[in-house]
Amino acid sequence: MALVHDVLVIGGGGAGLRAAIAAAEADPKLNIAIVSKVYPMRSHTVAAEGGSAGVIKANDTLEEHIKDTISGADWLADQDVVEMFVKSAPAELLQLEHWGCPWSREPDGRVAVRPFGGMRIERTWFAADKTGFHLLHALFQTSLKYESIQRYDEWFATKLLVENGRCQGITAIELRSGLMQPILAKAVIVCTGGGGRIFPFTTNGAIKTGDGMALCYRAGAALKDMEFVQYHPTGLPGTGILITEAARGEGGILVNKNGYRYLQDYALGKPLDIHDPRHPQLRTMELGPRDKLSQCFMKERDKGNTIDGPYGDVVHLDIRHLGEYKIMKKLPFVRELAKNYAGIDPVYEPIPVRPVVHYMMGGVHTNINAETSIPGLFAAGETACVSINGANRLGSNSLTELLVFGARAGQGAVAFAKEQKKSDTAALERQAKDEQERVRKNFIAKTDGKERIATIRTEMTKTMEEGAGIYRLEAPLKATCNKLAELRDRFKGVTLDDRSNTYNTELTSVLELENMLEIAEAVAHSAVNRKESRGSHQRTDYPKRDDENYLAHSLAYRTPDGPPRIDYLKVVITNWPPAERTYGEK
């Protein structure tokens, strides 16, 4: 009766597919399941544009990539993990090339690399400016080769089944029928992405609601470094649609209302003339790290130098000097997006941009092997926090992260699964029945609710933006924490219009909102407790980095009916002791 597999992957994006393929290759005799609330090609990996970093060229070294990543992370990254990540990266990217990913090439047929923010040497592999799309489709199409991988497309996971001290499966709703069923497994890998949708303006698609983070959180795993939320400096105003960092990698510049390249005022080096062959200079000006660039926008705004727009303040990203030919060759998608969603042609006009929420450095606490604190439960990708990204992620490290840790999770899950002999089926089925009843009682059968989903969701995003934005302060953060507690309470009174079975997307919306409220609290409470400024977490009341007290990861643990409990875990330092984080040097 029950559905049973050896390894179960939740999430069919880059990390999930890579994990499933790794598991299938590690032991073709095991059966692997991928459970995803959307068809895999809809996963948000598809929207990534710029590229994927890996050391491949003669002028680059592993040590340089490690140093860039560690300093980019403002020393909050675990250095042993970063070392492993950087060493594993080239092989993973080559594997993807062998699997058909159409990496852009040099004239001699070798893979090409482009400059990217925060990196001293060019090492970002790219597939035009739709790298995530090509990477995802290459992985998805390759996964079709493996008979041992079975997919559950449009099944929504609602709970991790933990019994006898280990994770033994999940409950999930088949959206077509509305039926919730347990799916048992010897090992579970969570690859459900981040949760940018807790903020009002984000590059993230609708599906990025932190589901997997919430699943692990409820099962007792800690959420690590949740306060570190990356704002991408160049999103379109209003929609938040991403304009890739590659636009700056190819030489695009950021100017304020006076046409001035304002980044030069903020210790990011000196600007070169745009026609200088050495422009853009790595780790300088527009190729500084994302957290600093987003913070510069805020400072310019405070000075009154930003440009007024219908959706708030913007600055201009100018790529006109690249010329139509180069734009069509290297940034065609940027042109398409600007024309469709900003109403301008970047060949002739600058693009209005502003920082928007893009990525969560934080996530489910895992070790270097993608293991969580719960035996049998693994996590990889944006869902997880290993941590290689620390307080700020460098652009193009994330796509590589999917591959490296997806593969590791898959291999680890296979090794774990092979050791498990029995499963506690009866107890698991009882848990599943309870979960079925919980969802039915709280949402489907509930008739006395008063609040609409959208009301609570909008208030949540508003308070997150107000208290947990780019610059934070104690009082607004505390207000956000209180507001979220209030919303957690009001959530109990939410009502659905839709009580049917087939593709009840209102039910999935309310479950997603439940997940978002959980992780939002983890973000807010971790932020209020970290009394320092580091990377993307900037406190105007504690403007300095405090290595003495805070060279540690925040761990947020769920409590039954209150705010999360915050604890700390020291960062692993190997060869690179904390130093000053500087950019703009020659």
Partner: protein, 128 residues
Amino acid sequence: MSEAYRRPVSDTWWLKNPNYRFFMYRELTAVFVLAFLLVFLYFLRQLASGPEAYNAFLRRLSSPWSFIFHTAALVAACFHSSTWFNLTPKAVVVRKGEEKIPDAFLITPNYVGWLTISVIIFLIATWS
């Protein structure tokens, strides 16, 4: 579990948008081409059957109906041919380095060839 709903496709699907209609007209030209071919085969047969049969056929050829039919068939054939000539770049891709050569380079030779062969046949036919 409930059944998915299958929407019926109507017989007049091709009236729904101008591209579908264009497609149907293009396909219908084949009817005229076929009809002309049948007339032509009959012509050959009459030619082989001796001067009386051949002359009878020639008289019918000069009737108004025949004129209308042949004009329509010629228009249809020209339409048919030019739509297919214009679609050549879709079926045949020639690249110079990374770029495709301009469509005109593939389309024009068809028209030139057509014109040339037509002229040659015309000259042969009127030579005596």
